[in-house]
Subunit: 206 residues, 4 copies
Amino acid sequence: MRRANPDLQQQRVEEIVAAATACFLEKGFHKTSVQDIAQRAGLSMGLLYRYFPSKDAIIEAAATTAGREARELIDRFAQATELRRGFRQLAQELLTAATIPGYQALLAEVHAESFRNPSLRRMEQQDLATMRLAVSDALRQHQQAGRLAAGVDTLALATVIFATIEGLCAHVELDPALDVAMRQRAIDVLLGLLDAAQTTMSGRSE
Amino acid sequence: MRRANPDLQQQRVEEIVAAATACFLEKGFHKTSVQDIAQRAGLSMGLLYRYFPSKDAIIEAAATTAGREARELIDRFAQATELRRGFRQLAQELLTAATIPGYQALLAEVHAESFRNPSLRRMEQQDLATMRLAVSDALRQHQQAGRLAAGVDTLALATVIFATIEGLCAHVELDPALDVAMRQRAIDVLLGLLDAAQTTMSGRSE
Amino acid sequence: MRRANPDLQQQRVEEIVAAATACFLEKGFHKTSVQDIAQRAGLSMGLLYRYFPSKDAIIEAAATTAGREARELIDRFAQATELRRGFRQLAQELLTAATIPGYQALLAEVHAESFRNPSLRRMEQQDLATMRLAVSDALRQHQQAGRLAAGVDTLALATVIFATIEGLCAHVELDPALDVAMRQRAIDVLLGLLDAAQTTMSGRSE
Amino acid sequence: MRRANPDLQQQRVEEIVAAATACFLEKGFHKTSVQDIAQRAGLSMGLLYRYFPSKDAIIEAAATTAGREARELIDRFAQATELRRGFRQLAQELLTAATIPGYQALLAEVHAESFRNPSLRRMEQQDLATMRLAVSDALRQHQQAGRLAAGVDTLALATVIFATIEGLCAHVELDPALDVAMRQRAIDVLLGLLDAAQTTMSGRSE
DNA sequence: TATGAATGAGTTTTCATTCAT
DNA sequence: GATGAATGAAAACTCATTCAT
């Protein structure tokens, strides 16, 4: 019996998820048929159903995988020793990823689905919490090292930075005016925020 | 002739959009059938098609309605004379709107769909462009009135502000940690960005 | 009470049939809705159903009317005193009528329907028999007047002439090569048949 | 794999076309549902759509099949060496085919549909052009061999012959008077046309 | 293990017909 | 007599899922 090996099983699962993701990027969840996925993965529909119980299960797996890259980028940022440089790099890499055709569409689809699928919802929440915490921790370390003014609210700053980047990513694909130059200018503005924080800023209120 | 009255026609249309919106929130665009909408709106499918030519048209109407409030808020901001106060109010109102149950879900659905539906896409693009321009114009007026440093790149600043707010809105519903207090702190951070801009900051650096 | 007058009733019926025919010429039986007919006839659907019990009844009435013009042409031919001239005129008028946009389509639709609708079938059969007999009678009178060789099988000749003209009419709309000049040449060929008959031809067999 | 065999595939396709043709004869194209065809062919609708992409494609296949016999007869005529005998045989075979129950009905349906369906239209036009040209070419060869007077307009003659035969075919099923004997007499008349052409007739006159 | 033929419920959309007004 | 809003039963087509081989 071929393929009883659990490693090979695992590999098959990943192949299917990869094929599914490719399809989803091209056509979206709903216009991708199970047939499409099976063909792209190079196996029959019947066999595919031995690895996943339903199309929805494949969607979920693909959605889970889709956020991985972003999480990895964030992890790298959290370990950057130079605040400005690390931040600029993070922002640029995320914005570049956002321009991959279909990637924003996939995220949007996952996000929309997450309002109905508790499992996806939990995943998104966890991702968000994890990543924000990572950024916040990184900022606090910069703060302790004196590279950030003591009064700065690092959690709030992390929240804002994160929201800004996600917002920019969403707009990048939507907005022809957000070309490379404009993205640079936007990042510069954000760096201005960091600069301000680096010196004096402390959470002010009305 | 029972329903020749245009007011009643208009009311019917609104009833249908409301019913459709409710369905969309529960099941998403794709899993909501026209039958579902008709039943919820209390009329037959055939009759529904006298008010809307297609399911897509209903989706579009629901999407248009969903974005209206945000557009109105932006308009009000653009006319605010006090930068900080106007901005804080805008951010707060948008974030409050974002917590209305189902509102973010509907926007997410619209956004996801916009990647396949050219008409929705155009709508989103236009909304984005219009609103960013409104914010940018408002900032430039503040600049000319001396309430913002001359060197500030208002378009880039508007872009960032806009992205940040949208990102925050998206996170508000997802993130239990983003409670009222946390939102305040995040807004304060953003106001810090404005303060910095108000004095010296000039876009470029590095 | 308006319109109790049977003449006005009759007039209404004719208006509806005319409107229906116009619609059928443009869109065919199946793509014409009762709504279309009612609108064109300038009355409401409800009222239309007081004059005809169903859409099929309207189709039948329109089909009955559609053949009238051809029957009238044939009648005129039957009374022509000059064989060649009468024939040429008949052929030309029929071929001209055949080029009216939608007319052949209407006839084709009626003909196809006649295979399932006994009433239409009977009508087509009767039309055909009547017209062929008229032509045959006319030919026999020409024969008795010495304008056609005595041996000629007038019924067979009428049958052929009739079939030819109908075939040509059907081809006229289908065949771009059958322009005015080509039609003339075809008619000339048929006149050659009459010429031959005029002199010697008698039904030969193998 | 159960049905990978291409012969079986081909057989299935033919079964479907046969079932469709039977349905079309009974109810016409428009009143025949895809469900009807599938049921008659003994398979599910879903499966039927694996063999044909649309109802129109089925119609087209049925139409193509229906015209095949006539095209083959014409081809054989074009190769006949004896004009009169070849012609008589052609006419008789076509008229015989025309009496096959349902054959004219199917052709009528196809013809009516051809006014809305560009694909059918093209098919009919091409069939007509091809067949007329074949007859015309055959006539010209007879002419060159001296079996037809030099002045004869072969294209016009072919046009007339073709129109006549089609007209006769259409009438055969409609007209009880067009029995075997009457058909013979009509063919004799047409042969008289050929005879006349064989000797002196030259197209133009009047 | 592997296949893909087969299913049938589900989708959007149309329209002849009716009936409250 | 007159209206057209309202119905609902179709139609063509799709596709996740199953199962005989």
